[in-house]
Symmetry: none
Subunit: 217 residues, 2 copies
DNA sequence: CATGGCTGCGTAATAAACTAA
DNA sequence: ATTAGTTTATTACGCAGCCAT
């Protein structure tokens, strides 16, 4: 909620200063806001190598913009472009390289998430379709049954005893009409949400899990 | 492309085994390989805050073991346990906390991947099922059609010369699986679809595996 | 064959946004 | 409102696999 002015001011400042006193500014902001932890108490390094470092980074908006733009053009980074970018941004070429690496990773992740969501949609449609088909099958069976009975009826007066064509259980018209029988839809139990997470983090109404099925049974 | 097995195996190993030999291997390799690149040539800090890099990184196998074990017990970490662990491991409690954070994130990611794979399986079965149902619907329609014809024939055997109908009493189960298409399905007043509009584009393209993904890359 | 450059992967550490007590 | 712990996003490191020079 209360970002206060610091946020925007930060941006401005970082734009003005291509990253010279930048890191300072950040920590200032932090303290300004609420005495962000300054834990440097003890490295207490036992067997492990002592860990005491304090490097703050965060590229400026400007820098990220340019990088992002370049990334949009081409995810790969030839050393030429890298150096040029580093120069323009006032960064270590290494940083540029690292940034690109990380960006690629992020991109990949995002892509995968996207695919997941697509698959989910497809799956939902398919399930729906399957459901529809199931009811249609039931209906058709019923119709067929009726037709069979009709045939039976039509034939009976003519062909007296003809057990060959008996087929079906139909004693008479007591079939379904109301017994649409198998809910069955189970098929693959696959409790999708066995324990915790399985929520669609994204927008609007896309039924979680298989809840939507309930609407059809 | 062909990373060979190593890549995935590594991943697997590091996931399955609480990092048993993983880090070990790494450090071994590292030392073994001797000075594998000392890329500290130039910090070239330039105008950017000169990040004089430190060398930290990589908890020891032992440490990771214990952490992993504790994580298995409980993903959350009360400060009590945190401190205890830190003590036992000779680490900064901070590090323990960080480790747990990162571990949770990793775990979540893994979980999501799992979900993805599950979903994929579900999708495949559903697709298969749908396919099955589709053919069944076709079959039933055909049967129904035959039955209708039969009824027609039985009802008005006198009228018409009926040059067709060579195949009498069609109790055929399955015939040509390809002809059928007639929207038909009236007769018994059964407007099956007509209300539900699936935006499902398929019908025929059952993406095996992840082929469809290619469309998005 | 090694040397250096670039990449993917895993991971430690940090920062910021959030949340709950 | 302050504080501590959490999640999400980022930055950076180290390693191993490739592949050109």
């Amino acid at each position: 909620m209360n970002h206060g002015p610091t946020q925007d001011q930060m941006m401005l400042i970082s734009q003005l200063f291509p990253s010279s006193a930048y890191t300072q500014i950040i920590s200032q902001q932090g303290e300004n806001k609420k005495a962000r932890r300054r834990r440097n108490k003890k490295s207490k390094g036992g067997e492990n190598g002592g860990n005491e470092m304090n490097k703050k980074r965060k590229l400026s908006e400007e820098q990220v913009n340019l990088l992002e733009q370049n990334f949009g053009n081409e995810h790969k980074l030839e050393s030429e472009r890298k150096d040029r970018l580093a120069m323009e941004l006032g960064l270590d070429p290494r940083q540029v390289a690292v940034w690109f690496q990380n960006r690629r990773a992020r991109w990949k992740n995002k892509k995968l998430e996207e695919e997941y969501s697509n698959l989910k949609k497809i799956n939902e449609s398919t399930l729906l379709e399957k459901c529809r088909l199931e009811t249609e099958v039931l209906k058709l069976r019923e119709q067929l049954c009726e037709a069979e009975k009709e045939i039976q009826r039509l034939r009976e007066p003519i062909e007296r005893v003809d057990p060959s064509n008996s087929s079906s259980t139909s004693s008479h018209e007591s079939q379904s009409m109301e017994v649409v029988d198998p809910p069955f839809l189970g098929e693959f139990g696959v409790d999708v949400y066995d324990d915790d997470v399985f929520y669609v983090p994204n927008e609007t109404h896309y039924f979680n899990g298989m809840e939507w099925i309930n609407l059809y049974i």
